[in-house]
């Protein structure tokens, strides 16, 4: 047996591919960090478990260093590994930085919630690091197989994190619903991928023999159309686009609040990363198929999310529907990715929106965590009179809600402006219709964001308990980062305006005119 294998190996002229260690340093640091955190957690006394959170934060910051050095060294020339199937370009680096930053802020937010609840802290952070590793991989994946592996690596820990409160039946329900929907969606996505592979004979997205070059309008076979539709539908689950959103509100409400923040920002951004990579690299010339599909998804998502958010009384549930509707705005430019005029600004709009959305949504959840530590309630009415006893939190909440509503000069305004600009660049009737739907939705969304602000500033304190809130320092740090991020992008948009240029994305296929 062994002789047979060694003779087979001797026949095959195989040598290991050259590996650019610097380029995959962020992933390597995360992998080493996961193992270190797991091992240290095994030998740590229960009273010292808080150290794990600090250690996890340090791992993320360490992984951030090579992202920065790569960014400085890259200079427009992408670094390709494994036959161009794992690419480090500026697009990937911006998203990697986003995921690591979001992970760091979520660690800050979850530290006290986990300590107070007595939950399994060590395991939680290990799973979160695994999930972040999947997202960081997703940003570089340029092959159907690695996109699938990255998606599962980021999702499977998420299922467990949603059900983290083991004894709470609500948290269990959140976990099971997320799990069933997520796995079903990846099954559908895989079925689509198998058809794409079958019809084209390749799993690579880029290159002359890649999907991007082979899938072109007019010459698409039935298998290819089904493949594209199924793959996009699978990711529509991940970003909770209507009509694939039914899991999101329940999961967001039932899961621990820091985990909800993680899902609504990091998981969603990872889903959009995959969608962007696929739409810009694999399907750019199949816009007859994905264009109308994403148009309908975007219009439905922003409208249904908004209308349902209007009638929520629970703040987390309202933020869940608000994040669905924000997802519609992020999706909107992607419908015009294949347009020669709008393609470039569409990529830029989505990347910028994801960055800004991460800051403002994480911030809103940080305020909710800080306030509900005192009120022990998730109802919007429990925020009544917040300004009277916690002015700092009230001001922070105002910044985030106004930014989510798109009020200048906050970050959300610039993000929405970019999304509208990308759609209007397409200059077609359908684009104008979509922009009108989005404009109406912006107005509707202001209603529920401002209702929260009215409660915070005008209403009376519901139970008369006006003891001031002293949020623990990690949450203050998280609030600081998110407030600064939200305001800085709005006041000085040039900070992020350069991110997500189409030329930063290696391997783009020239669009058909």
């Amino acid at each position: 047996m062994i002789g047979m294998i060694s003779s087979l190996l001797a026949q095959a002229d195989w040598s290991s591919p050259p590996i650019d260690w610097h380029a995959i340093a962020p992933e390597l640091i995360l992998v080493i960090g996961i193992n270190v955190v797991l091992l240290i957690d095994l030998n740590l006394a229960e009273s010292k478990k808080w150290m794990i959170a600090t250690l996890t934060g340090i791992v993320m910051l360490l992984a951030f260093i090579p992202v920065v050095t790569l960014g400085l060294e890259l200079d427009g020339v992408p670094r390709e590994l494994f036959d161009g199937r794992y690419v480090i370009d500026e697009y990937a680096l911006v998203l990697k930085a986003l995921f690591l930053l979001v992970g760091y802020v979520v660690v800050l937010m979850s530290q006290n919630a986990l300590e107070d609840g007595g939950y399994y802290q060590g395991e939680f952070y290990v799973l979160m690091l695994c999930s972040i590793l999947g997202m960081v991989m997703m940003a570089s994946s340029r092959d159907l197989i690695s996109i699938f592996v990255a998606l599962e690596l980021l999702s499977i820990p998420g299922y467990m994190m949603a059900a983290w409160k083991k004894r709470s039946s609500v948290s269990n329900e959140a976990g099971v619903k997320y799990y069933l929907m997520g796995v079903f969606a990846s099954g559908i996505m895989l079925f689509g991928m198998s058809y794409l592979y079958g019809a084209t004979g390749t799993t690579a997205l880029t290159g002359e023999e890649g999907l991007g070059a082979l899938l072109t309008d007019g010459s698409l076979s039935g298998l290819e159309v089904i493949g594209i539709v199924f793959v996009l539908a699978g990711f529509a689950f991940k970003i909770s686009a209507v009509p694939f959103h039914s899991w999101a509100p329940d999961t967001y409400e039932g899961a621990p609040t820091p985990v909800t923040a993680f899902f609504s920002v990091a998981s969603k951004a990872a889903g959009f990363t995959a969608l962007m990579t696929l739409v810009f690299l694999a399907f750019p010339n199949a816009s007859d198929v994905y264009g109308p599909m994403l148009w309908v998804l975007a219009a439905l998502t922003m409208t249904v999310g908004n209308v349902l958010a209007l009638r929520q009384t629970n703040i987390v549930r309202m933020l869940a529907y608000s994040s669905i509707s924000q997802g519609g705005f992020i999706l909107m430019p992607l419908a015009y990715a294949g347009d020669v005029d709008a393609g470039g600004s569409a990529l830029n709009a989505v990347v910028v929106y994801l960055l800004v959305y991460a800051f403002m949504n994480l911030g809103a959840f940080a305020v909710v965590i800080a306030v509900s530590r005192k009120t022990q309630s998730g109802e919007i009415s429990s925020f009544g009179g917040l300004f009277n006893y916690a002015p700092g939190l009230a001001v922070a909440m105002t910044v985030f809600m106004a930014s989510l509503a798109g009020i200048p000069p906050l970050g959300g305004w610039f993000a929405k402006f970019n999304a509208f600009k990308a759609v209007l660049d397409a200059d077609t009737t359908s684009a104008y219709v979509l922009a009108c739907i989005a404009a109406v939705n912006t107005v509707i969304s202001a209603a529920y964001y401002f209702r929260v602000l009215r409660t915070v500033w005008v209403d009376d304190v519901p139970d008369g308990n006006t003891a001031p809130i002293n949020p623990p320092s990690p949450i203050i740090a998280a609030l600081g980062i998110t407030v600064i991020g939200t305001i800085a992008v709005g006041v000085y948009p040039r900070l992020v305006a350069g991110f997500g240029n189409l030329s930063d994305l290696a391997g783009t296929v020239p669009l058909l005119g």
């Binding site: 699938f148 079925f191 198998s194 592979y197 079958g198 004979g201 799993t203 329940d250 039932g254």
Partner: protein
């Protein structure tokens, strides 16, 4: 042609799986239906690898098998969790969160 039969079988399995996920109310049955969907993907991939005469599809199928195992591990743990808390694995009873 032989490969076309495999594709037909895979499509039928996929439809049965999707129907099971939608219609079944027992959590374990839903998990099994999801397995059907994933296995129809594997059949597809291997059949296409035969048709295209390369190994990419078979490698892909190996990845799918490995990850499906991990997924089902997590899924069964979760079903066990809800069974411990509720003494039932009916999905219809998971309805505390609404609106």
């Amino acid at each position: 042609m032989l490969a076309a039969n495999f594709l037909l079988l895979a499509a039928v399995l996929f439809c049965i799986g999707v129907f099971g996920v939608i219609a079944r109310r027992n959590a374990v049955m839903v998990l099994m239906s999801i397995e059907l969907v994933l296995n129809s993907v594997n059949l597809n991939l291997v059949a296409f690898a035969l048709m295209n005469d390369d190994v990419d599809g078979q490698v892909f199928a190996l990845f799918v098998i490995a990850i499906a195992a991990a997924e089902v591990g997590v899924g069964l743990a979760m079903v066990l969790l809800i069974y411990r808390n509720r003494r039932s694995i009916s999905l219809d009873e998971l309805s505390e969160l609404k609106g």
